[in-house]
Subunit: 316 residues, 2 copies
C-alpha cells in the first residue's frame, strides 16, 4: 500500500504548473510550495504536470528543479518527479557506473519490480542511454556478480499465480545440493532464481524449508562477510518478503554513522507509491520506533519535509 496522499479534488494541471513556476521565480525558491504540489500527486499526475509544464514554459520541469534545488532535497525531488520506469533506468545506470560488490540497486530493481515494470525500465533505459540495461550491467560487473545480475535484469518472468508443486520439490532439492556443496555460483541455482516466476520461487523456497528444516536464507549464511552470499540472501528476500528487504535497507541507512541519504531517498521515492505502508509497519515492528520519527531525527529542512510528505504527512 502506498503512503502518499493526493488532495480531492486534485487541482487543475495548469494551475499546478503555474504554482511550480511561481515557486521558482523571484528571490529564493519556495521549497514548501514545491513539496506541497509534487509530493502529493501520483505518477500519472506528475507525468501530466511535466508534459504541460514543458508546453507552457518551453523547459523540462526536471531542468527547472535542477536549477533551483540542491543536495539531498534536489535528488529526492528529481527522483520522485521522474516516471517510475525512467527512475529505475536512472538508478540502474548510476549503479552500473559506480558498481561495487556491496551495491544492491541493480539486484533490487530486477527483483522487486513486477516483470512488466522491469521491462518498462529496460525500455526507458534504451530511450535514455541508447544502450540496453543488460549490456551495461554485463560490461560493468564481474565474476559471480555478473553471472547473477545479467540474467536477473534480462528476465521477463511469468507473472501469474500458477505453481507447479512437483517442480518446486525437484528444484528445492537442486538448491539444497548446491547450497550443501557451497557451489553458490552454480548454473542451476542461477537458472532457477533468474527464470522462475515469483510464485514458483516462493513455493520452491517453502519446499526447501519444509524438506530440509531451514530457510534457504539461513543456509546461505555460511560466511556473513561474503558480499555475493549476502546478495543471494537479499535476492531471496526481495522475492518473498520485499518489505523486510526494504526495512533493512532503511535501517542500515538510518543507523549508519552519517546517514546514507542515497539509500534513504531511493527507498522512499521508489516505494512511496507501492508498498511503503507495509514497509513502515515492518520498520516499527523491527525497530520499536516509527520510521517517520527515525527520519525526523536523522534528516532536516526541506529534505526531511519531502521524505515525510512521501510517507503520508499531509502538511509536510
Amino acid at each position: 500500500m502506498a503512503t502518499i496522499t493526493v488532495p480531492h479534488p486534485v487541482p487543475d494541471v495548469s494551475e499546478d504548473c503555474e504554482q511550480l513556476r511561481k515557486a521558482f521565480e523571484g528571490w529564493g525558491t519556495n521549497e514548501g510550495l514545491i513539496i506541497s504540489i509534487l509530493a502529493h500527486r501520483n505518477a500519472e499526475q506528475r507525468k501530466l504536470i511535466r508534459r504541460i509544464y514543458a508546453d507552457l514554459y518551453g523547459e523540462d520541469l526536471l531542468k527547472s528543479l535542477e536549477k533551483e534545488l540542491s543536495s539531498d532535497f534536489e535528488r529526492a525531488v528529481l527522483l520522485w518527479t521522474l516516471d517510475p520506469a525512467e527512475r529505475d533506468a536512472f538508478l540502474a545506470y548510476e549503479s552500473t557506473r559506480m558498481w561495487t560488490a556491496s551495491n544492491r540497486v541493480i539486484l533490487e530493481i530486477a527483483s522487486t519490480r513486477s516483470p512488466y515494470e522491469l521491462l518498462l525500465a529496460r525500455q526507458a533505459y534504451h530511450a535514455r542511454y541508447k544502450k540496453s540495461l543488460e549490456e551495461d550491467v554485463a560490461a560493468h560487473t564481474t565474476g559471480d556478480f555478473r553471472k547473477l545480475l545479467v540474467p536477473l535484469v534480462s528476465s521477463y518472468r511469468y507473472d501469474g499465480p500458477e505453481v507447479n508443486m512437483a517442480l518446486a520439490k525437484s528444484e528445492a532439492k537442486i538448491l539444497r545440493k548446491v547450497v550443501s556443496d557451497k557451489a553458490y555460483n552454480d548454473d542451476e541455482l542461477i537458472r532457477i532464481i533468474s527464470t522462475r516466476s515469483k510464485a514458483q520461487l516462493n513455493a520452491t523456497f517453502n519446499q526447501y524449508n519444509n524438506e530440509f528444516g531451514n530457510a534457504i536464507t539461513k543456509d546461505l549464511k555460511s560466511d556473513p562477510d561474503d558480499h555475493y552470499l549476502s546478495a543471494l540472501r537479499a535476492l531471496v528476500k526481495c522475492f518473498t518478503t520485499p518489505e523486510k528487504y526494504f526495512e533493512k535497507v532503511l535501517r542500515l541507512a538510518i543507523n549508519k554513522l552519517g546517514t546514507d541519504e542515497n539509500a534513504l531517498t531511493r527507498v522512499v521515492t521508489t516505494r512511496a507509491e507501492v508498498d511503503m505502508q507495509h514497509i513502515k509497519e515492518e520498520y516499527q515492528r523491527r525497530n520499536s520506533v516509527a520510521l517517520d520519527r527515525a527520519i525526523r531525527v536523522d534528516t532536516s529542512g526541506d529534505y526531511e519535509a519531502m521524505l515525510l510528505a512521501l510517507l503520508g504527512h499531509e502538511n509536510a
Copy 2:
C-alpha cells in the same frame, strides 16, 4: 521486402469470414478458397478475421482450420494464420519440447526478430503457456547451448543505429582472443553476442575482419561437425545477413532426401511478410534456380499452392 499480395480493395472482413465458413461446409473442404483468402491478407487483416470469425461463429478460426485440414498444408495454414508473436511463441515452445543440438529454431527467433518482436513473442509465450520462454529454454537445453540460448532469448537489445567504434575495436579483440583459444563458450563471447545491439555487433564483426584478415564465421569453422560451433556461425549470419541464413535453411530443407517440410513451412510463413523477397533473390543467386521452382518440384497439392501464394503467386 514481403512477398505476399493483398487485393485492392480488400474484401470486407465479415465477407472473408463468410467465405471461409463456406469453405468448411458441406462435403469436402474448399482448400483453394481458404488459400485465396488467408494467404492474401496481412497480419493485421488476419487478426481481424480471427476476431470477427469468433464473434460470428463462436469458434476460433484456428480450431475450424484444424478440423478441416491435414498434414503439411494444415501446418502451413495454421502457422500463417497465427499472429507473428503467437507463431514465434508456438515455434519456440515446440522446439524446447523436441530440442536437439541441431535445432536452430530458438536461436533463429532470438536473433532474426527485432528486439521488440522478440519481446512480443515472450509476452505471447506467457499468455499461452503460463511460463516464461527463458525458463523453458533453460529447463530443456543443456551445456554450452544453454549457456548461449538462455541469454539470447532473454535479451532486449538496443535497437538504434548508434555505433561505438572504440568498443567495436576492443570487443573484436576479445572475440579474436576467444576464437584463437578455441574457448567458444567463453563468458565474454556470450556476453557480447547476447547483449550488444545488432548495429554494434555488425561493427564488431567488421572490425574483426579488417583487423585479423578473416571473417569471424570462417574462424569459427575449426570443426565443421561441431553443432555448437555451427550454431555460433548461424548466429553471426542471423545478425548480419539473415537472408543468407534463411537461404541456407531453405536449401538444406529442399535438397534433403525427403524434403524437410517443417523447416520449409517455418521459413516461408515467418518471412513472407518480412524479407522473403530478399531471401528469394539470395536463393536464386546461390542455387541458379528460382525458389518457387524448387518448391514446385519438391511439394505438391494444396501445400504447394499455399507456399507459392505466400511467395507472391497471385493465382495460387
